[in-house]
């Protein structure tokens, strides 16, 4: 009555194909690492590592060229700094409001609208930053010669910063609001029963309880800010500049890669290899931040599930 087990080859083949699809992700990461490592090593055969990692002059086109990566790392961090200074208050403010104050109807309409911001192509945000934020907001409002003055400069770190900031507000708002909503109501009710005001509950009870999710969102946002290309390319400039001054043009790592790899360079030249060494720095930085963020998100999800 019970037939002997047929080997069911079809099932095994299907399982194999599916596993291959899964393994592709590992292959992709491996490919990224491999594509970065080769030319990077070639780069370091010519340029000493300490000059690269600690130099502050990034002038590849000069004779002799100087490859101090800190100049463009500073550019990236410059933009990221102003982006976060804008995005953190806006994002967290939005999150607290949506989670603790807004009626369900308001939340249902506002949340998707904020998500739209996340879906806007970066080239559009970059265009907005360069053609509106810079001339119509920063230049008129900047106090005269403060920090070197803003008027007249076609590219500003601050313009790129505000553009990137606008782009990442939804990341902070969305993940933080998720984390705050996940805080059990029992905690809030306990505080209210003791006579706490809404503000106190939001800041002293909910916020600390959701802290790991909030921090995760901020770390993820920094990672996105660091990895962003088009906005900095359009609004912040292509001048390597070792400074955190917002009203100066700078060049971010991503912008350098974008400009150089599309220019006329030959494979194997030092310029070509520099693209990969900068890419390695970028990849390592964002990888570290992403791992931290993923850990934190898992932590806050575990606590309440």
């Amino acid at each position: 009555m019970l037939q002997s087990q047929k080997p069911r080859y079809g099932e095994k083949v299907i399982q194999g194909l599916l596993a291959a699809c899964g393994i592709l992700s590992v292959l992709t990461t491996t490919a990224i690492v491999i594509s970065l490592i080769g030319p990077t090593i070639g780069f370091f055969e010519i340029v000493p590592v300490d000059e690269f990692l600690f130099g502050t002059d990034w002038t590849p086109q000069f004779e002799p060229p100087s490859f101090g990566v800190l100049a463009i790392v500073a550019g990236t961090l410059n933009v990221a700094l102003w982006a976060m200074l804008f995005a953190i208050p806006m994002g967290l403010g939005a999150a607290v409001y949506l989670s603790e104050y807004a009626s369900p109807r308001v939340r249902k309409t506002v949340k998707p609208v904020l998500e739209i911001l996340a879906g806007i192509p970066t080239v559009a945000i970059g265009f907005f930053a360069a053609s509106f934020i810079l001339p119509e907001i920063i230049q008129p409002l900047w106090p005269g010669e403060f920090l070197g003055g803003a008027v007249g400069k076609p590219f500003l770190a601050l313009a790129g910063g505000l553009g990137v900031g606008l782009m990442i507000v939804p990341i902070i708002a969305s993940i933080s609001e998720d984390a705050m909503s996940a805080v059990p109501n029992g905690l809030r009710e306990g505080a209210y029963a003791m006579g706490a005001t809404k503000m106190k509950v939001a800041t002293r009870v909910v916020f600390p309880a959701a802290l790991s999710g909030i921090v995760a969102s901020i770390v993820l946002a920094i990672s996105r800010a660091v990895g962003e290309t088009m906005i900095v390319l359009l609004a912040a400039g292509s001048t390597p500049n070792f400074t955190l001054n917002p009203v100066e043009p700078i060049q971010a790592m991503t912008a350098y890669i974008g400009v150089t790899a599309t220019g006329d360079i030959s494979t194997g030249s030092l310029d070509y290899k520099s693209v990969f060494s900068v890419g390695t720095v970028l990849f390592v930085m964002t990888l570290a931040m992403n791992m931290v963020s993923i850990r934190l998100v898992r932590k806050y999800r575990e606590v309440y599930e």
Partner: protein, 296 residues
């Protein structure tokens, strides 16, 4: 080792265990099919089920007969569902589950190395506690089984027969294309029974099929069970003793047993006999306590 030798060997070991644990006398009820001349569908001999090395049921020995309704009753956690799921190898889906002992189906080893669990489940169907119709039309729900079996000719007739067999045809014959989720709980459960019947199994296992339903639907399904046993062998797990008394021919009573330190617990078969006897004149005092409501 013959049956007698193993029995004595077990007795000596059991005698030692008895001093430390609550006693049970599995041997007396081993292969107790006195009075039944019907063919055996399942023969269980010393079946243990372990999850991750920890026993959930131990030493189950009983025979289940053809076209009987066999009820498994007992308090929560005594392993009734675990035992039921062994009969159609659904425990295979749990990676840490292990079945030991001998389990024969029509004389063949159900867990033999050459046996295909998929084939087993075509012969031994299952109805679950919470009705789980597929999110498809009523027709497609019932037709699913025959379709994957390749029995596609006369599908309409197969579906109609299955729905009639589940006492659902009259209620749904005009809306076979409606989504199954639109049916009431009781109707959904009868749909699941129809789905099961459509595959033409030889046995149907039911895991507390009425516990999620209202009394009227429950009554309909109990009547259905009595009809179904003309064609199928049925094994039902139930918490409802009146139900067991009403519909089943034979009843098995399981109970939880603790080991000496009281950290491990597993289910044991306490008594297995004709239903009337189990409910009116049980041999074991624990059975008496349970069926009279004193315990459990």
């Amino acid at each position: 080792m013959t049956q007698d030798e193993s029995r004595t060997g077990r007795e000596t070991r059991e005698a030692a265990a008895e001093r430390a644990a609550i006693a049970v006398r599995p041997d007396e009820f081993q292969h107790r099919s006195a009075g039944s001349s019907k063919e055996k569908v399942f023969e269980l001999k010393g079946v243990d089920v372990l999850y991750g090395g920890v026993a959930a049921v131990k030493g189950i020995s009983m025979d289940i007969h053809r076209k009987d309704v066999t009820a498994l009753i007992g308090p929560s956690g005594c392993g009734k569902s675990t035992l039921l799921r062994c009969l159609n190898r659904m425990n295979d889906l749990i990676p840490s589950a292990e079945v030991q002992g001998e389990l024969l189906y029509h004389g063949e080893d159900l867990y033999g190395p050459q046996v295909d669990p998929v084939q087993v489940r075509k012969l031994i169907g299952m109805v679950f506690q919470k009705p789980n119709p597929f999110p498809k039309s009523i027709y497609d729900n019932v037709a699913f089984g025959p379709r994957i079996l390749g029995r596609k000719d006369n599908l309409d007739a197969t579906v109609e027969n299955a729905l009639r067999g589940a006492a659902l045809w009259d209620e749904v014959k005009d809306r076979l294309d409606d989504n199954a989720f639109g049916l009431s709980g009781g109707q959904q459960q009868r749909l699941c029974i129809a789905r099961c019947i459509a595959v033409e199994p030889d046995t149907i296992l039911m895991d507390e099929p009425c516990s999620a339903l209202d009394p009227i639907s429950t009554g309909k399904i109990e009547d259905l069970m009595i009809e179904l046993k003309e064609e199928f062998s049925i094994v039902i797990v139930t918490h409802n003793m009146q139900q067991a008394a009403r519909v089943s021919d034979r009843t098995a009573f399981l109970m939880v047993e603790l080991d000496a330190d009281e950290d491990n617990r597993w289910g044991r078969l306490v008594e297995y006999d004709e239903t009337e006897k189990v409910f009116t004149n049980p041999s074991d005092p624990r059975t008496e306590d349970y069926v009279s409501g004193k315990v459990g």
